[in-house]
Assembly symmetry: none
Homo-oligomer: 362 residues x 2
DNA sequence: CGGGGAGATGAATCCTATT
DNA sequence: GAATAGGATTCATCTCCCC
């Protein structure tokens, strides 16, 4: 086995510096990267500050601010370039942040020629109120979903997400509460372990929408391991990178505790996933003719206009041949419609949509 | 009077290039700038079809075309620098965009040492669906509210916004529909005048939250003049800059038509509601009966013909039930009339039109 | 101007495999 | 690489018409 085979990293938490450890990951080996990077501010001592209320006081005179943006941008470019290298060509990356860093992220993402698919808003139903009434309550965090290039054939489990959303297309604004209660990890003194632990609901949506079962998901800022926990629950593989030994310990415990089968939070979601995103193979019209499922020589539209269907499954009009789809243009003034849902056969006195015949014989 | 006195620009639409005209505005003269710049959408050259086969008519205007991010960024820097110059030290700027441009805006805003107050999300309740099921529905646009420096004493009308939000602190995610219907301006052929007209609700929140009465509000991408219209309705002054002659003409007409009805004797919030929430909800007849506003069992028409009104708000004639409207047909030889304006109740010896009762109880 | 139904429409980086 | 065929895909809102 090669030392750098991706299998060596699967479902492990790697303790160490994000950039150092990213460089160890083989190229084009990852299906999804989720990154919740820190809000980095250079204070002279090089302290990393997470986005957490007003904790970044004291580093905001103009010069420091600009200087720290520069540092932050450089750091961002470095880990994003590593992400580009290790991501499969059709893989996806999700990042999240607030106004403090999301514009830095988005700008650099676009400059590195990544291709943005969606920008999303997580609306927190229970944000910290603005006690002094000085501005609007900061009730959103922002997500960017992007891929390596415009031509990427990324995964999007459309029907799964629709199904999760009362059977309507899921939009780009997600509304649920911040992580609290039992889900929130505590240290052995009973204090919250991490300031910005992400809710599993968030990772559930990300992973369900843009990965397939058994995909490999990497999180370079693993923290308390929400990404790993949800990946395991959804039968995906994870790789975590985290610099803080304490977080690694608790994250490992958290993930080890999860039993993959029959979890109450995610009952049979993989089966749902499989059911809803399964592509159905339909027979072609020529097959239906050959198998004698369509015996009639003529097709009709809803206005009972009649066309001739030949043995090759082509519609003949004025000595020209058209596909069943293309023929709709002729009869609908250039509107291009799905021919399967447009043409009927006549059986005795009944008109039957050819799509219904197709579905009976799939 | 100085040639460049700001009073010369007040409540005028300036036809011409955004940058040229911004340069004419005196320094530190503006209280609020709202900027809805081109988004640089980069749509493909293909036609996007709706599911019913019709074409989707999206933004394909010349004003949204740029050759590169670099060109877009340079343009952005230039107009933002002019904005910094003309804005009062305690003034506010709001910009908006989607993922196509919002990271460019935010990044440049931060690099130019502006100070961000809030990032906000406008969640559209009726966005264009994703016809192909290729990604999450783009249902949000993004806003950035920022000021000239961290020390700015900007305006934030906290209580007004709280009052507008059922007396809860207003958050950074706003939910309302896109501009359509009567609010949407049409050209003289009946087509939509502008591809991206913004709803008045949006400007209402921006102007109410971060300006005072009689403030001067400048919009460098004036378009159809939503900013001017709402400014006028709320007793603020506007200055619009717009390059397209047609838009200017229609915007001027739109603004001229507005009657200012603010009155100092009434609480602002009531007036705001009166101005913007033009739709009056009338009670239904069943509600009036339930609330005992209509106590009588009989209704009369102008010929004093009597009918029985049951507890479900239906008129009974010859063992048949009719709506109050449908019942007019019976009594008017098939002429269909508005029942509210046809039927009376009898109170002592007075006949009272049920429409009057309804209006008293709206 | 009630109520039901048909039709229109909105800032969109909106498909894919085969020949 | 371009052209073609096959096949999958929509939600809230507003206006207008009719009864």
């Amino acid at each position: 086995m090669k030392i750098n085979n991706i299998d060596n990293f699967k479902n492990k938490i790697i303790l160490g510096d994000c950039l150092d450890k990213l460089k160890k990951i083989p190229s084009k080996s990852i299906d999804l990267i989720f990154a919740d990077p820190p809000y980095f501010m250079q204070t002279g001592s090089g302290i990393l500050y997470r986005i957490d209320g007003n904790k970044y006081n004291g580093v905001n005179d103009d010069w420091d601010k600009f200087n720290s943006y520069k540092e932050y941008d450089n750091f961002t470019k470095k880990w994003l370039n590593q992400c580009r290298r290790i991501l499969k060509d059709n893989g996806s990356i999700w990042v999240m942040g607030t106004f403090h860093n999301i514009y830095r992220l988005g700008f650099i993402i676009q400059n590195l020629k990544f291709w943005v698919i969606n920008d999303l808003t997580w609306e927190k139903t229970n944000p910290t109120p603005n006690f002094r009434g000085t501005k609007f309550v900061n009730s959103n965090e922002n997500l960017i979903w992007f891929v390596k290039s415009k031509n990427s054939k990324f995964t999007f489990n459309y029907k799964t997400m629709k199904n999760l959303n009362e059977n309507k297309q899921m939009g780009s604004v997600w509304r649920f509460s911040v992580c609290s209660g039992k889900e929130r990890l505590k240290d052995n003194k009973g204090n919250k372990l991490h300031n910005t632990q992400k809710p599993e609901e968030l990772l559930k949506r990300i992973i369900l929408s843009s990965t397939k079962k058994n995909d490999i998901i990497l999180d370079p800022f693993f923290g308390t391991g929400t990404t790993g926990a949800v990946a395991k629950k959804l039968h995906r593989n994870f790789i975590g990178i985290e610099n803080n030994e304490k977080y690694v310990k608790y994250a490992q415990e958290r993930i080890d505790k999860i039993e993959i089968i029959l979890n109450d939070d995610y009952p049979l979601i993989d089966q749902v996933n499989a059911i809803f995103d399964k592509k159905v193979k339909y027979p072609k019209i020529i097959d239906l003719i050959k198998e004698n499922k369509i015996k009639t020589k003529y097709l009709y539209n809803s206005r009972k206009e009649k066309v001739f269907l030949n043995l090759e499954g082509r519609i003949e009009v004025n000595k020209n041949e058209y596909s069943i789809h293309k023929a709709t243009e002729l009869f609908e003034n250039g509107r291009y419609l799905n021919g399967w849902k447009y043409w009927y056969i006549k059986e005795k006195e009944n008109y039957i949509l050819i799509d219904d015949i197709r579905k009976e014989n799939k």
